[in-house]
């Protein structure tokens, strides 16, 4: 695929990923808190939901969420480093390192959860 202009740029895609991951994490938060809040009703209520998360599709969604969280973390650190230290020289490398760390965290979760 050939892209032209600003879209053919690691920083542009890092920006898109940071936005999309942030938005998806924000949407996920109330559901996450709701499930953890089931503890009020007792262990059985919470376990009932956790059993549902054993489904392969839910596990796959969890792996994606973990990668999105790690990507938002590394993307945010990169963004703050740019804002506060202003160095752009190695920022393309920082995008690659962030992506690598995010995938590694997702893989670590996948290996442990399966």
């Amino acid at each position: 695929m050939k892209l032209s202009g600003h879209r053919n740029h690691a920083h542009y895609w890092a920006f898109v990923l940071h936005r999309v991951s942030g938005l998806l994490l924000a949407i996920f938060l109330p559901a996450h808190f709701y499930v953890l809040g089931l503890a009020i009703q007792g262990e059985a209520a919470m376990d009932g939901f956790i059993r549902w998360t054993d489904a392969p599709l839910v596990k796959a969604a969890e792996v994606i969420l973990i990668i999105l969280l790690a990507a938002h973390l590394t993307g945010g650190l990169r963004l703050m480093a740019l804002e506060f230290f202003g160095s752009r020289e190695s920022s393309k490398t920082a995008v690659a390192i962030g992506a690598g760390i995010s995938l590694a965290v997702g893989l670590a979760f996948l290996i442990n959860v399966v």
Partner: protein
């Protein structure tokens, strides 16, 4: 307060909360990967958090930082990518923050006071 001052304050609050969240998320990711090793269960989660003041403090800080950070981010996206009025984006931001605080602390206190086997 002028628009520029509001924007600056929100920018500062989002960066301050991001710095706190950077630490919290690293701890959270380590805990997640560790906790799922033998399969996740309510007993494991409740057993770890229940009655533990250190986890209570950690998750209280975590939820508070999220309640600051996420709504400001959502507002920025709405402001830059939709035609929603500035007043409405502020209302959405404030409401979302309150929802996160209410649901987050309900979960944190629920886990802290829960007992395994209940």
């Amino acid at each position: 307060m002028s628009n520029a001052r509001v924007e600056t304050k929100l920018w500062v609050w989002q960066r301050l909360s991001a710095a706190v969240l950077a630490v919290c998320v690293v701890v959270h990711l380590i805990v997640i990967v560790y906790a799922v090793q033998d399969g996740l269960s309510a007993a494991e989660i409740i057993g770890r958090v229940s009655g533990n003041f250190l986890w209570l403090a950690f998750y209280s800080i975590f939820v508070t930082a999220i309640a600051v950070h996420a709504p400001i981010g959502v507002r920025t996206i709405l402001k830059e990518m939709t035609d929603i009025s500035p007043k409405a984006t502020h209302m959405i931001m404030a409401t979302f923050s309150l929802v996160i605080l209410a649901m987050g602390f309900r979960a944190v206190i629920g886990l802290f006071t829960a007992s395994v086997g209940a």
